[in-house]
């Protein structure tokens, strides 16, 4: 893959930089942009982001490895993130996870062979009123039960 932002992404980045006092502060949003553009972050991408922000690549790598929402490998078309924090756990996130495992035939951290679904767990997404909940790409779903999960997965087919 050629590591270069689209014109649109570059435009977004320029706008972003205006929001922060220094370039160091823009690393997280810049990495989000990069992840949208390229799907996941490789070292090449880190070097590219560092070049764009005119900061050392080490600084980008420190941020990248600190946060769990940045990926170092590709994910399926639909990235399912099941919340495992306290509220969701009490409301049955274990069952949700078990059902998804069985239904998709993959374990946490894996992607279905057809490249459609990736299953991961996350900590609190701040939507406890929907517990047990999950995030699929950018959308929240919950409260979840087996019937609801079937419906959601079907809508994503």
């Amino acid at each position: 893959m050629s590591v270069e932002f689209s014109e649109k992404a570059l435009e977004q980045l320029r706008e972003l930089l205006g929001h922060y006092p220094d370039r160091q502060a823009a690393v997280i949003p810049a990495l989000h942009l990069a992840q949208e553009e390229f799907g996941y972050i490789t070292q090449e991408v880190e070097d590219y982001v560092a070049k764009l922000l005119e900061i050392p690549a080490t600084d980008v790598h420190q941020v990248f490895t600190f946060y769990t929402m940045f990926r170092d490998r590709p994910v399926g078309k639909y990235h399912i993130k099941v919340c495992e924090s306290v509220a969701c756990h009490i409301m049955g996130s274990t069952n949700v996870l078990d059902y998804l495992r069985k239904k998709l035939g993959i374990d946490v951290g894996q992607t279905t062979p057809d490249g459609r679904f990736t299953l991961t767990t996350v900590e609190c997404l701040g939507a406890c009123e929907m517990a047990p909940m999950m995030q699929v790409n950018d959308d929240f779903y919950g409260p979840l039960d087996e019937k609801k999960l079937d419906e959601i997965l079907e809508s994503l087919e």
């Binding site: 070292q43 880190e46 050392p56 080490t58 790598h61 420190q62 490895t65 600190f66």
Partner: protein, 542 residues
């Protein structure tokens, strides 16, 4: 100026000083890991907590500015308990490597545990495993398990060398210090300092690794002879355990703080450049060539031979003698040599040798001139002038038949820009005397070779490029039969029946300071004096 009270004692400090430094001024050491006076404050280790009256919580003293009327307590029950707790957290994942760790004996985890920890381990979980014994540079090995993530090394590569090789990656108890994955090793010329500033055993020096325990080492204050900067150093020498470090008497050299010259740092070239001191090619005995065959001599015989060679030569005419001193020699040696050879009537006394390739230089410490005392030689008005290196001028004169005797002090001409010409011309000369520390192509062909002591085996002063006269002290005895430059010159003076030369560097310096205006303590040279080193040289204080 803020005046504050620390542990009941009053102290005034410059505005902007932090509490930790203010306490240091009173001789109170507040334990700390991440704070380093030459680096930006990180405030990450939490070890330097102190109690400040009027503040509800303990404060980190490294990041709290001293304020007027502040009342600080550094050793209350509350503070001690907090320190113990911080230490307990820092040690949660620390391995029990002490018996095989180079840092043992100068490790601040050990030191502060004995002073402030002394708790029983409450750890029931397994320690986190990380990467161990990972070479991250030519001179440095990283042990991630021993690291307490103080980030001194990261800040060093950021603020001092500006090379940004190191970072702290991942998070929580999986955090590690590591190289940026895009590079395979440290890329700066100052990496030895990383082992110095690491307060624990995470970054250790590959040169010093497993060589000796630090408690067998003694220290001598010295000056790095690696370039004209004259970084202040500490020579760590070992004479109580001779079998350690493979017989090397000097297992390591470390920078000594001097804010006016080198700060807290020194370069790798200087730090690891001392190995010739214990090298197998040291010249250990005087030696002459008898029809090309080497014959070893005693010192009395060597002095007699040298005196004979020199008087023969001067009888033919003192201007047929050329002397090449070295900018690696001390001010005292240069002065004594100038005096000795001048009294023989010799006027061709040079010292400038041009290297084959120009030396590396940067904006931090490293200077292109790889001699410690070029300035000293210049102030002594040595040199042949002529707008070229003294070697070139001497070789010109030799080729023209104007010079047929040369005395070379510790300069390997085969490493100079005149290597080829020197190789062709020197063997044709009547007499060549070489005085030096290690064997080399120039020494090998000399008619007489006198073994000289290295900088760790003698004392004296160097004048750095700015004109600072800096004193260094002796660490170990001269190897084999080698003698200090002053001792050799004194022996020569006696053998030649000249005015005696003192072997004592302090005496020679006193004479030098009286006779050479540039070294004279007067208003014109106040800069020289204000370094303190000049005065210390005169007073002979250690």
């Amino acid at each position: 100026m803020p005046t504050l009270k620390i542990d009941g004692k009053e102290v005034w400090v410059e505005p902007g000083t932090n509490v930790l430094e203010a306490a240091k001024k009173l001789g109170i050491e507040i334990p700390h890991y991440c704070y380093h006076p030459a680096l930006k404050v990180a405030g990450s280790c939490r070890m330097c907590l102190v109690e400040i009256e009027g503040m509800p919580k303990l404060q980190i003293s490294c990041h709290t500015k001293a304020a007027d009327g502040m009342v600080v307590w550094t050793n209350t029950e509350k503070v001690r308990k907090a320190r113990q707790a911080v230490l307990e957290f820092l040690l949660v994942d620390h391995p029990l490597d002490c018996p095989v760790c180079d840092q043992a004996g100068e490790c601040y985890l050990q030191i502060y545990y004995m002073e402030h920890g002394l708790y029983k381990s409450r750890l029931r979980e397994n320690k986190i495993k990380k990467e161990k014994a990972k070479p991250i540079g030519k001179h440095i090995i990283l042990d991630q398990e021993r690291c307490i993530l103080c980030s001194r090394c990261v800040r060093f590569t950021r603020e001092v060398t500006k090379t940004f090789e190191l970072g702290i990656f991942n998070r929580g108890n999986r955090s590690v210090v590591d190289l940026y994955p895009g590079i395979s090793e440290l890329q700066n010329r100052y990496q030895g300092n990383l082992a110095d500033i690491c307060p624990v055993g995470a970054l250790t020096d590959r040169n010093f690794r497993f060589q000796t325990r630090v408690w067998y080492l003694q220290q001598a204050k010295s000056i790095c002879p690696g370039c004209s900067r004259g970084c202040n150093i500490e020579v760590d020498y070992n004479i109580s355990r001779e079998y350690k470090a493979g017989g090397r008497r000097i297992p390591r050299i470390r920078p000594r703080h001097n804010p006016k010259v080198n700060g807290y740092w020194m370069c790798d070239d200087g730090r690891y450049g001392y190995k010739y001191v214990d090298a197998l090619d040291r010249i250990l005995l005087p030696r002459r060539l008898d029809e090309g065959e080497p014959v070893e001599l005693s010192w009395p015989a060597a002095y007699t031979m040298a005196a004979d060679l020199l008087s023969e030569a001067t009888k033919e005419g003192a201007d047929k003698v050329g002397v090449l001193l070295s900018a690696k020699m001390t001010n005292e040696e240069l002065f004594a040599a100038r005096k000795l050879f001048s009294s023989l009537g010799v006027s061709r006394i040079g010292f400038r040798v041009e290297p084959k390739e120009p030396g590396y230089e940067d904006d931090l410490l490293i200077k292109a001139d790889k001699n410690p005392n070029t300035k000293g030689a210049e102030l002594l008005e040595l040199g042949l002038g002529a707008g070229k290196s003294d070697v070139s001028a001497l070789l010109d004169a030799a080729e023209a038949g104007e010079v047929d005797t040369v005395v070379i002090f510790n300069e390997d001409l085969s490493k100079s820009s005149e290597a080829e010409r020197a190789e062709a011309v020197l063997p044709k000369l009547g007499r060549v005397i070489y005085v030096g520390t290690n064997w080399n192509a120039t020494a090998a062909k000399a008619d007489l070779v006198l073994p000289m002591a290295t900088f760790v085996e003698q004392e004296g002063t160097f004048t750095n490029f700015e004109g600072r006269v800096q004193r260094f002290w002796k660490a170990v005895e001269p190897l084999g039969e080698s003698r200090t430059g002053l001792s050799i010159l004194a022996g020569l003076a006696t053998a030649l029946g000249l005015e005696p030369v003192s072997e004592n560097a302090e005496e020679v310096f006193a004479e030098l300071a009286e006779q050479v205006p540039a070294f004279f303590r007067g208003s014109a040279t106040r800069n020289l004096v204000s370094t303190g080193n000049w005065l210390r040289a005169r007073l002979g204080r250690r």
